[in-house]
Amino acid sequence: MVNIYSYISGMKNPLKDISKQKLTELLTKTDIPQSWPLDKILNKKNSDNSQQNKTNNK
């Protein structure tokens, strides 16, 4: 649940909170969004910190 309150001010223009870069990205990408429903099942935690832990792959 993020950005609800900051979003309200821009609500009348649903594209307002989308950066030009993000929109350009959406225009130039085609994808298979299989994260539906994968993200709901595999709820990753601390993904920003994940690089701090490493393991040898062998």
Binding site: M1, V2, N3, I4, Y7, I8, M11, K12, N13, P14, L15, I18, K20, K22, L23, T24, E25, L26, L27, T28, K29, T30, D31, I32, P33, Q34, S35, W36, L38, K40, I41, L42, N43, K44, K45, N46, S47, S50, Q51, N53, K54, T55, N56, N57, K58
Partner: protein
């Protein structure tokens, strides 16, 4: 006299699986597998992450990342034993950057949730300013088609034997290479860049998704599934999977189709219901619903009310980015002023497109 291979080619094209993409699909599949094998053999470190898994609980997963530059990918393509210059000239993909990330989970949490092993999330990305055909000395006409990203969720068993990534990996690569091929054919025939009118729909489906609006996100996902250029890419994708199955008659074929991701897409299209989405939005069953659904309804109100205007903005942005964006007819004011009518309109479109996708899938029987 028409040769047997020409007959095969004609049938393939009629069904929607052009021979032209086959070689590049095979080469890119082996490029991804070989790169992962090399990573594995080198003993490189993997990052460790944690995830909370439905029906299972907490688990660790390992993550690796591989980046293949444009130059390296081209070297791989042209040196591949599968490379054939004559075939390549029919679809001369040239210098594609490839990024691969892979998350390795214990098998059990994936198996419990019936998650395909591996599940491959993929992206084809192109840069309109660099897109197009270019004469390269010694090669002739080349096609600069953009980059590929593959995000792979796999089990330990896949990591132990990377060959088990087939046919799912091959199928996803077929899907993305086909998108590149669609752009190539369109550009070659008409000089146009992009997927046309549906390109704007694909963009709006991504642009209006919000974390707090899962009901509308679901609608936007089905909107994406309804796009015909996406249907077309699902045909070679499905064929890659079906070709690995033991199919002796039409009943076997239908049973195997029902197990594919593409059939799940058909079901989602056919079961979309305007009444359900409206009921779901009005149902308050938890504190989270109370907090979320009010704002979600407002978002939907503005998204529907501004539908035509939003598409116009996207079209303008598309033009500024070098894409061909032809004018389109928007939805009527009547539909945009009433969410129920808006969703009813899309319900009809989605249900019809579900039938269309299923019909296209069943034509694959001719190729098995």
């Amino acid at each position: 006299m028409i040769t047997r291979s020409r007959i095969k080619q004609i049938i393939n094209e009629a069904v929607g699986v052009p021979d032209d993409i086959d070689m590049m699909v095979e080469i890119f599949t082996s490029m991804v597998k070989d790169s992962m094998q090399k990573f594995k053999d080198s003993g490189q470190d993997l990052d460790i992450g944690e995830a909370e898994v439905t029906n299972y609980g907490d688990t660790e997963f390992k993550r690796g990342e591989i980046k293949i530059s444009k130059e390296k990918s081209w070297q791989y393509v042209k040196n591949s034993p599968l490379f054939n210059k004559e075939k390549w000239e029919k679809f001369p993909m040239y210098k594609n950057k490839v990024n691969i990330t892979f998350d390795i989970y214990p098998d059990e949490p994936l198996d419990i949730n019936n998650i395909n092993k591996p599940t491959v999330n993929a992206v084809h990305e192109f840069e309109p300013t660099q897109f197009g055909l270019k004469d390269v000395k010694g090669l002739g006409l080349t096609y600069s088609s953009g980059n590929f990203e593959f995000n792979i969720t796999m089990g330990e068993s896949n990591w132990e034997n990377l060959d088990t990534m087939s046919p799912n990996l091959d199928a996803t690569i077929a899907h993305e290479v086909f998108h590149s091929y669609q752009l190539y054919i369109k550009y070659k025939k008409s000089g146009k860049v992009g997927f046309g009118k549906e390109h704007m729909m694909n963009t709006i489906a991504g642009a209006l998704k919000k974390d707090f609006s899962k009901e509308f996100n679901y609608f936007l996902h089905i909107l994406y599934l309804s796009l015909r250029f996406e249907h077309q890419a699902r045909i070679p994708q499905a064929l890659k999977v079906l070709k690995t199955k033991k199919i002796e008659n039409y009943n076997d074929f239908i049973e195997e189709i029902k197990k594919t991701d593409m059939y799940r897409d058909v079901k989602m299209l056919k079961s979309f219901s305007a009444n359900k989405i409206i009921n779901d939005l009005n149902k308050i069953e938890s504190f989270d619903d109370l907090l979320r659904k009010g704002i979600s309804k407002q978002h939907i109100q503005f998204a529907i009310g501004g539908w035509n205007e939003i598409l116009k903005s996207i079209r303008e942005r598309a033009r500024q980015n070098g894409l061909t964006a032809d004018p389109f007819r928007g939805l009527s004011e009547k539909l945009l002023s009433n969410p129920k009518l808006f969703f009813k309109h899309w319900e009809k479109v989605f249900n019809r497109r579900g039938d269309e996708l299923f019909r296209k899938l069943t034509r694959l029987y001719a190729l098995l």
